[in-house]
């Protein structure tokens, strides 16, 4: 018995000896100008024409630069590689004037020809770029990407000289400049790409630290898989004098509970998200590091309109009206979202979607009775599926009970492993399924074109010729913003009268941000322009500790 306590004591001493007591990442980072950034998960890769996710976006945003960038406060386009641009009268021709000072990290000039090469790569039918559609507003781009047009010379992008790029569009596309800041339209360095393979080779090691040539405000310094990615300030970037950070360290913080704890002990300046139950805790402290802002995305339930009993619009309306979104938000969601009644987030580029209904228990019961199930009698089996995630579960459990209380119906809920869920949604093997859509660019079109007939993301069976006309034909030809928005308004009214989806809430972005982090204003796209971010070493107060 004497040995055991001695061993335990030894282990304890070992623990104590291992204690760091050292400086936290945050205070060290503030001194050195290094941002410690919680990036959600490990990026799949860093090739702008291959990857698809948000964590990839955050790193690529620091390494590369497109024709335009965005003002982080207003999201208005600001100069990127292009220092100015002209748009023709009819809105179909764009001429970009490239900054002659723009440089690749090896010193080469960034030319208009590099963009032509890069867009060909992004659209190449063999490339398998999942975001190729971002360039589809360009004349013939879609035909080329789908392999129906062999010659890229017929696609509407031309280098007039080294610093002038001309782009022809199919239709006036008010959001086209925004697309120029999406990584799928970013330039890559042609000699580097060709050094490691052909233009359409997907797997080459050109993005590795030792090979990468990039044109953004930061250069890749270290890429330690699943551990961290380190970028440091570039000395070839044209606007390098404005860049204040010396570097950024990205951490793959998949586990959000761990991420919050890393922030609390000063291992991170910034977290990608905040666990729901921690929000009231952080809201309760002074100078809260919690920053919350509306986010361009809608959380909703998809309804398979081809399946009993939800093929009846009255049942769909009953289900939707029986959900008390305000109560849901105030309780389970910790007041951290905005109740939604439409697919387009209100205020998207000034557009106000129609609000056709709200929580109304009486009306919901009436609709259900009209559909032939008074008081929920004889209501057939109904199942709601969602992919495995804590927050989805909480919402589903609460809504399940609301349906029981208001309509007296038993809806089964089932969580499914991600790929099983995706498979069921695309194959339409479900009755009701949870879904979220985050906008790629700020325009109602990005939400409303989800529900065109047989659209890849429709998944509801909803089909309305008038709706298709409005979105595909009439809106693109609209002369003014008002006219365009009124067409969208008509389309969205059509949609919500049929209710193939049940909107639940409008997303918000939630982060923990240390007081020393400056130049990172909140915005609708959760967009960060690392060019303008800086650290104020005077704000040294450690991350606030609870109790």
């Amino acid at each position: 018995m004497t040995l055991l306590p001695r061993l335990l004591l030894g282990a304890l001493l070992l623990t104590l000896a291992a204690c760091t007591g050292g400086e936290s990442n945050v205070s060290k980072g503030n001194r050195e100008g290094i941002l410690h950034y919680g990036n959600g998960s490990e990026p799949q890769g860093l090739d702008p024409h291959v990857v698809t996710g948000v964590p990839e976006h955050h790193v690529i945003q620091a390494l590369f630069e497109g024709l335009t960038a965005k003002d982080p406060a207003t999201l208005e386009p600001i100069p990127g590689v292009a220092s100015s641009w002209e748009i023709s009268e009819d809105g179909k021709t764009y001429v970009f004037h490239l900054n002659p000072e723009a440089r690749w990290s090896n010193g080469d000039q960034v030319t208009a020809g590099d963009f032509v090469f890069s867009w060909q790569r992004a659209l190449h039918p063999k490339m398998g770029n999942q975001y190729a559609y971002m360039l589809f507003p360009v004349v013939n781009a879609e035909a080329y990407a789908r392999g129906r047009l062999p010659d890229f010379a017929d696609v509407g992008v031309k280098a007039l000289d080294d610093v002038t790029l001309e782009v022809h569009l199919n239709a006036p596309t008010p959001y086209f400049l925004q697309l120029m800041d999406h990584y799928s339209t970013f330039p890559v360095h042609p000699p580097t790409i060709e050094k490691f393979g052909e233009i359409s080779t997907r797997f080459t090691p050109w993005t590795r630290v030792e090979n990468m040539v990039n044109n953004g405000p930061f250069d890749l310094k270290e890429w330690n898989l699943n551990r961290h990615i380190i970028v440091e300030k570039s000395d070839t970037y044209w606007d390098r004098d404005k860049v204040k950070l010396n570097g950024i360290i990205y951490y793959p913080t998949e586990n959000i509970v761990s991420e919050e704890r890393m922030f609390r002990v000063g291992q991170l300046h910034y977290t990608q998200t905040v666990p729901l139950d921690k929000i009231p805790v952080y809201e309760g402290i002074e100078n809260s590091p919690h920053v919350q802002s509306p986010y361009l995305g809608t959380y909703y339930y998809l309804i398979n309109t081809t399946m009993e009993p939800v093929n009846d619009v009255r049942v769909r309306k009953a289900l939707s009206m029986a959900i008390d979104r305000v109560k849901l938000n105030n309780t389970v969601l910790q007041k951290s979202r905005f109740p939604a009644y439409t697919i387009t987030p209100p205020g998207t580029l000034g557009y106000q979607p129609p609000k056709l209904f709200e929580f109304d228990a009486e009306k919901a019961r009436q609709y259900l009775a009209d559909a032939g199930y008074p008081g929920g009698d004889g209501f057939p089996q109904l199942e709601l599926i969602y992919n495995t995630q804590e927050d989805h579960r909480k919402i589903a459990v609460a809504i399940q009970q609301m349906w029981k209380d208001v309509l007296n119906i038993d809806v089964a809920i089932a969580n499914q492993e991600w790929k099983v869920y995706l498979d069921n949604v695309t194959e339409m093997h479900f009755q009701i399924a949870r879904r979220g859509w985050i906008g790629d660019y700020v325009d109602p079109n990005n939400f409303l074109d989800l529900f065109i007939t047989d659209g890849g993301n429709n998944n509801t069976g909803f089909s309305d010729p008038r709706y298709d006309d409005l979105i595909l034909k009439l809106a693109p030809e609209a002369k003014t913003r008002e006219e365009r928005f009124s067409l969208f308004h008509e389309a969205e009214t059509l949609l919500m009268e049929q209710m193939p989806i049940i909107p639940i809430y409008t997303y918000t972005s939630n982060h923990l941000k240390h007081a020393s982090v400056k130049g990172m204003p909140s915005n609708l796209m959760d967009y960060i322009n690392f060019r303008y971010v800086w650290l104020d070493p005077n704000e040294t107060d450690a991350a606030p500790v609870e109790d």
Binding site: T20, Q44, M262, R264, K419, G456
Partner: protein, 310 residues
Amino acid sequence: MWRFISLRLLQAVPVILAVITVTFFLVRVAPGGPFDSEKAVLPEVKAALEAQYRLDRPLFEQYFAYLGDLAQGDFGPSFKYPGRSVNELIAAGLPVTAELGLYSLLVAVIIGGIAGVFAAIKPNTAQDYIPMTAAMIGICMPSFLLGPLLVLVFGIYLDWLPVSGWGDIPGDKLLPSITLGSAYAAYIARLSRAGMLEVLSQDYIRTARAKGLPEWQVVVKHGLRGGMIPVVAYLGPAFAGLLAGSFVVETIFQIPGLGRFYVQAAFNRDYTMILGTTVFLSTLIVLFNLASDVLAAWMNPRLRAQFGGK
């Protein structure tokens, strides 16, 4: 003995081939594919992607092509991490998980073994109940609970140790190793106690005691070898469990190990990665099971005589 080992190694070849075959077809019938994503993918894009990974060929052709690559030591390209090979990903994750596993097993064997032996020497006394109660707590504490709890106490309230990472900040390897090792320490404590009790009641122990040998000598010299057989038999499977279990610990502490790759590959339907990690791990498991069988046989005097005789 050598014949036994080489025979078993020979038997391992069909085992691994069977694992490859079953896994290969198993992952293909699982719903969902590697390129399914939340945003719909153009059919042309999907076809291009499938062509890049040979998925457009007949399944059997793919199977033999895979075996061909494998014979040359090539696990193929990863689906989830384009531009990286599975070999590279395994090479990146393995040292970390191996180190974590080693420390955890060390924690488990030392703490569990000692507690179990002490308990068995004086069964049904405080010397038995206290370590066994501690062991039971260890078993009821799943790592998804113990890990965050340890982090909360040592990382946040006491602020002694880092809350996550591996090899970045000094001391960050301690909590993960303890978290992963403790459950196994508890198992080993229980198994070694039972094993020791069994042995200590045997005749030859009674003979040794009757000869007047000091108790510790009886326990260490005569008891330990026999009493540890169940523990040793358990070590092989424990290693397999450790790799599966390391997923949870690696997630909690954000450790860049193989366990995370292994489980996530299944979720991502990263076919080559699933196969690569499975083949790799099954080889390791077969080897470890063999090692623990050999060890158990060596520790069992009768079986040893049999081996020696052959």
